[in-house]
Symmetry: C2
Subunit: 382 residues, 2 copies
């Protein structure tokens, strides 16, 4: 596989804006106001790790027609100036009196957009102080819901987006293939975490925003804990779950490794997870729903009871580690070509401990394809 290009052709951004504006016209939305990293990058390509700093608010306006307008702190002017966005308005931030709100309100008025839609539904938040939101309202701006437009847009990935996610997955796959270099009986778990992140970088990750895992003879009690210095024992099943990025796009999958040997229940549980994943993969076709995938996988895992502590059996994936939709009984989002999902079945082995397996797939017109490099059909012993 050749390495995908960095960034996107400008046509990709034009297409995104055009789709947004069509949806906005149907919903009667005069402008969409965006404040978070992924939302702003979606239309601009503005890629920086500076979002790690919570200090400054950033704004992007997608008007009913015409290109987006960036209203951003001056520290971002040079980098945003390298994007396709021409209309970039800046202020010196942080400003304790008016941190961009006056400039934002004035820009919205110029764009005849005194009513704006902001993403307000599940999985969203507004990245600006609540006091600034009140300030904006006091300047005559009405804030309403974006009618789900951002969710609908971002849930379906372009060919170039899928290539970046696939590349991230290939990098993680090479790192997972090298786990035998760093994992043996007695390895402290936190040292393993450090070494695994180094392998991800060595194999080409831009950065490694996410790593979680667990270990034990019957698996692990949760899948979100950081590592401690406790060493891995012979007979433990070790799980590493990574979300690394390539050019701002995530993979998100895990791999399980038995150290020396594993008990029969763990081996059987692992096989069940592989079968459930395969069933999910086969069921994933355009026209099916997120809840259909949940039902197929859950039946194999539990006979049909609830989804367990994780609350779902997979999710969307892209510019963020997790995106819409969720594979739950409740989420009836229809699968369409271009959606990228994780299948993430879990199974209890004993007393609250269990295993989780995760793969990344893309929906195509002919069904689904795995984009994470395939896991072994039986629990790998190293």
């Amino acid at each position: 596989m050749t390495t995908p290009l960095r960034g996107f052709e400008v046509g990709e951004y034009h297409a995104r804006v055009s789709r947004a504006q069509s949806m906005m016209a149907r919903a009667g939305t005069a402008a969409v106001l965006l404040t978070t990293e992924a939302e702003i990058r979606y239309f601009t390509g503005f890629l920086t790790r500076f979002w790690e700093s919570p200090t400054r608010p950033w704004f992007l306006i997608v008007p009913a027609s015409g290109p987006p307008v960036a209203v951003i702190p001056s520290i971002g002017a040079h980098l945003m100036g390298q994007s396709w966005i021409d209309d970039i308005r800046t202020w010196s931030s942080p400003d304790l009196v008016d941190d961009g709100i006056g400039l934002l309100a004035q820009t919205l008025r110029e764009l005849n957009a005194t009513t704006v839609g902001v993403p307000s539904g599940p999985e969203t938040h507004l990245r600006m102080p609540l006091a600034s939101l009140e300030h904006l309202k006091s300047r005559g701006i009405t804030v309403r819901d974006d009618a789900g437009i951002m969710r609908a847009l971002r849930m379906v990935k372009s060919k170039d987006e899928i290539a970046k996610i696939t590349q991230a997955g290939a990098i993680a796959g090479r790192a997972f293939a090298r786990v035998p270099e760093i994992l043996t009986k007695g390895t402290p778990f936190d040292g393993l975490f450090r070494q695994f992140q180094m392998l991800c970088l060595d194999e080409g990750a831009d950065n490694v925003p996410y790593l979680a895992g667990g270990f034990g003879p019957n698996g692990y009690a949760d899948v979100i804990s950081p590592a401690t210095g406790v060493p891995v024992n012979s007979g433990d099943v070790v799980m590493l779950d990574t979300g690394l990025t390539f050019d701002g796009y995530f993979c998100d999958f895990d791999r399980n490794f038995a150290v020396g040997h594993a008990n029969q229940a763990a081996k059987d549980g692992y096989k069940r997870l592989i079968e459930a994943t395969q069933a999910g993969l086969e069921a994933a076709k355009p026209g099916q729903t997120a809840s259909d995938l949940f039902t197929v996988m859950n039946k194999m895992l539990t006979g049909g009871t609830d989804a367990g502590a994780a609350g779902r059996l997979g999710h969307g994936l892209g510019m963020q580690l997790t995106e819409w939709p969720s594979l739950t009984a409740q989420d009836h989002t229809e699968l369409t070509t271009g959606m990228v999902l994780t299948l993430e079945p879990g199974i209890e082995i004993s007393g609250g401990y269990g295993l989780v397996h995760e793969e990344n797939i893309v929906i195509t017109q002919d069904g689904a394809q795995m984009i994470s490099p395939p896991a072994p059909p039986e629990l790998q012993v190293i």
Copy 2:
């Protein structure tokens, strides 16, 4: 230096809650409601990279008296159960109908806290969907400002917090000391970024949430850009700025390196930055203000004009890469013992290109101490 313990003694959390509740009593606040990673971790010690997933909201209530109450997705129950928090209420998230709001409202009513304060001022945001905020209000909960309580609490660090930040800085210092291993004429900048992150991990970082940098004969046009594959030339000044973490606490400082040689303007500019940093360090005493530090440093850098594109000359540091206060003309926050700050002077060399230097300091009763390992007084040539 011995490695600081992981986590905190429970007494540290008791002291934090006690200080919060004293401030709440003075402000007449029945409860503080927290939704972001740093805020929730501040009172619970709940440390996980799972916040990378935007899907699920998390809530912590600090009532007027008694211990905090966690209202969280069930996926977090096991990890939160290992903290000192006893009252942990969970729901299966994501839930498209009610993602924790009913449980949150019921819990607040039980605590006689139908009016809650949330952090609303500069550098804050509410990490929950706006629609959920409306849902909460519709359940009879009034949401107001937290009266700056979280800001006041978190701005002053304990001895154990300072030890963790210092440890993060020591790790970064060792990684910076090894840059000559990975940087030479012709090194692609993105490869340097990967290698430097590997060095940070190798030296003991838990993870490397932040890395930015730039390079050129006269420095760089911004300090927030990601790396491209462009190779470094002889005569370039290369800057790497990292925020790595140890046990959930950040360092945040940079180092500049000249490759082979540097022009005189760059060498002079670097010395000016070191002098400005030293002046800031000497001025940083309890009773002085953030704006006093700005004034002292800015006078040396520009003769007293504005702070340039960055908008400030340093900031607070701790559980987040950047925290309150800001070293600006406008921020009159009084410095007190236990504050951890960065000093981050920048200087233009030519045509919009320049250098930035950054150090981390702690305010003590006798003045300030540098906690990042000292930078060379002259621009280092490698």
